[in-house]
């Protein structure tokens, strides 16, 4: 059994891993794990990742969780072009810096924005207080400003002149609120231009393929009561 990637393309980090693997021609078996059906809670999946989260990787007897760990593992094992995760000390540090920052900053506001604007009301039928949503969108805005000012600056990509895993992680995050109707790129020409460059590097077809599922989430019918119950407790934290 070769490399297996356990993914749900509704999840931002899963999309980053998917795009990275496909773009670099890394052969893998896609093992879908449907979050909205609670499949990540199954005993079978727990064997792959005790933390019950996606993405997860299984390479022979080696299992690995956490998207950044997976991206870096794949980049090294499959000897992808250097720009994805550079050998150069300082260039690499820039990627590490972005990957660390986004995890405690942008990721949270993108997830919350998407859930509060769309998933709670549309899928779970739960109204979100307007002030909560407003605060989340303000935080998202603040993170986007930091992304532009601190990372992108006047560079072509977030960690330097060439595309890296940092860009994949960033773009897949930003597509989350976009899928919920947030106009992330409209008022931010710098980010919009960066998006075009990333899409061009990744390939428009692959980019669209990776985002097909999340872009259709707004058309999902409301969840049935069984699913609602299953998901409710784990997503309550996204209301805070």
């Amino acid at each position: 059994m070769g490399l297996e990637l356990y993914l749900d393309l509704l999840s931002q980090p899963c999309r980053a891993v998917y795009i990275f693997a496909k773009r670099n021609g890394i052969p893998f078996e896609l093992r879908p794990v449907e979050l909205l059906k609670g499949q990540h809670h199954s005993d079978a999946f727990a064997q792959v990742n005790r933390l019950k989260k996606v993405p997860a990787l299984k390479d022979g007897d080696f299992t690995l969780a956490e998207s950044v760990a997976i991206l870096l593992y794949l980049s090294r094992k499959y000897e992808v072009p250097d720009h994805w995760y550079p050998q150069d000390l300082q260039a690499c540090a820039r990627v590490d810096e972005y990957l660390a920052w986004q995890h405690t900053a942008l990721r949270s506001s993108c997830t919350r924005a998407m859930w509060q604007k769309m998933m709670f009301p549309v899928f779970l039928g739960e109204q979100v207080p307007p002030e909560t949503l407003a605060s989340t969108l303000a935080e998202l805005d603040r993170c986007l400003q930091l992304l532009e000012d601190k990372f992108l600056k006047d560079q072509d990509f977030v960690a330097g002149p060439h595309i890296s895993v940092a860009d994949l992680v960033a773009i897949t995050e930003l597509m989350h609120p976009v899928s919920a109707g947030c106009q992330v790129f409209k008022s931010r020409p710098k980010l919009a231009a960066w998006r075009q460059r990333v899409e061009a590097e990744v390939g428009k077809d692959l980019f669209q393929e990776a985002h097909a599922a999340v872009m259709k989430v707004k058309d999902l019918p409301p969840a049935d009561p069984a699913i609602k119950e299953k998901l409710k407790s784990s997503v309550q934290v996204l209301l805070q």
């Binding site: 593992y73 540090a93 660390a100």
Partner: protein, 308 residues
């Protein structure tokens, strides 16, 4: 190790403090009319209570060209970086930045890092934030022993796997008790009991996962040897301990891990690094923690509002 002065309050005349670091600087104009030898880093650190006036830290000029680390020892990631650098004999200039202790962030620091985040590394013109990035940079640049950040593909993946989970479940969570018990009250904010309890639940869950998923029956969180992951984890877990939440009580596996890491690092190094955080609760109780100035209140309030 210089002898510590006792901290007994008392009257002493200005300029009589014998501690090297607490001498008032003599003005020495260099070619540009600026003192060449002293770098002012933030407002002066308060001296011991024996000196009625604040003193400034003198820094030899030679040190200003090398590696600089901007650190606040109340901060968990800063302690991890400090411990790592010192344990590995990495020469650096410590630029103490006490963001909340009534100190104004200096213009220099602001120019270096407009977000005034700590830790920050400055290596010549190269400026880097984010503790995990800094640790990886230092381990690579100074070619530290392999176990810190193993070159083996899978072993390294385990370190990154830990760091990813740490960002989600440890960072932000274990700092909360210090905020609820010390920092928020300093600016007159009371964090509701409901949030305090919720935080305890999150910490319990995280500790369970740390023990079961990461430690397991391994000696350290990412393998059989100490790594960057252990430093990051331990300093975070120490934060609530410093304000009286003994997380290690009733968790013998975690306690044993802590002992192993601390034995490896050495008690002198740890005592030196953890002095400020271990004293903070006592200082707060005795009302000896300076009130943060108004300009840092907004970011403090923002942090407090993020407590789930």
């Amino acid at each position: 190790m210089p002898e510590r002065r006792s901290r007994s309050p008392g009257v002493s005349k200005p300029g009589t403090c014998q501690d090297l670091w607490h001498r008032r600087p003599e003005k020495q104009a260099g070619p540009t009319g600026v003192e060449p030898e002293t770098l002012y880093l933030g407002a002066p650190q308060s001296c011991h209570s024996c000196c009625p006036e604040p003193a400034v830290r003198r820094v030899p000029a030679a040190a200003t060209m090398g590696l600089e680390l901007y650190l606040d020892m109340l901060s968990q990631p800063c302690r991890a970086v400090s411990i790592f650098a010192k344990k590995n004999g990495i020469p650096f200039k410590l630029c103490t930045t006490e963001v909340f202790k009534g100190q104004h962030p200096s213009k220099e620091f602001f120019q270096i890092n407009s977000l005034r985040r700590v830790p920050t590394l400055k290596d010549g013109d190269f400026i880097l934030t984010e503790s995990s990035a800094i640790l990886i940079y230092l381990s690579s640049k100074y070619q530290t022993a392999d176990h810190w950040y193993p070159s083996d593909l899978r072993a390294r993946a385990r370190v990154h796997e830990y760091l990813g989970w740490h960002a989600d479940c440890i960072r932000g969570t274990f700092g909360v008790p210090l905020w609820t018990q010390v920092m928020a009250p300093l600016i007159g904010v009371h964090v509701p009991e409901e949030k305090v309890q919720r935080n305890k639940t999150f910490m319990d869950l995280a500790l369970q996962q740390l023990e079961e998923k990461f430690l397991g029956d391994r000696a350290f969180v990412a393998g059989q040897q100490v790594s960057l992951a252990d430093l990051m984890a331990l300093e975070e877990l120490l934060q609530p301990v410093a304000v009286g939440c003994d997380l290690f009580e009733g968790r013998p596996r975690l306690a044993a891990w802590r002992e192993r890491v601390e034995a490896f690092l050495g008690s002198d190094l740890l005592q030196e690094t953890r002095g400020p955080i271990l004293n903070i609760l006592e200082q707060a109780v005795n009302k000896k923690v300076p009130t943060p100035p108004p300009e840092v209140h907004p970011c403090m309030l923002l942090r407090i509002s993020r407590i789930p």
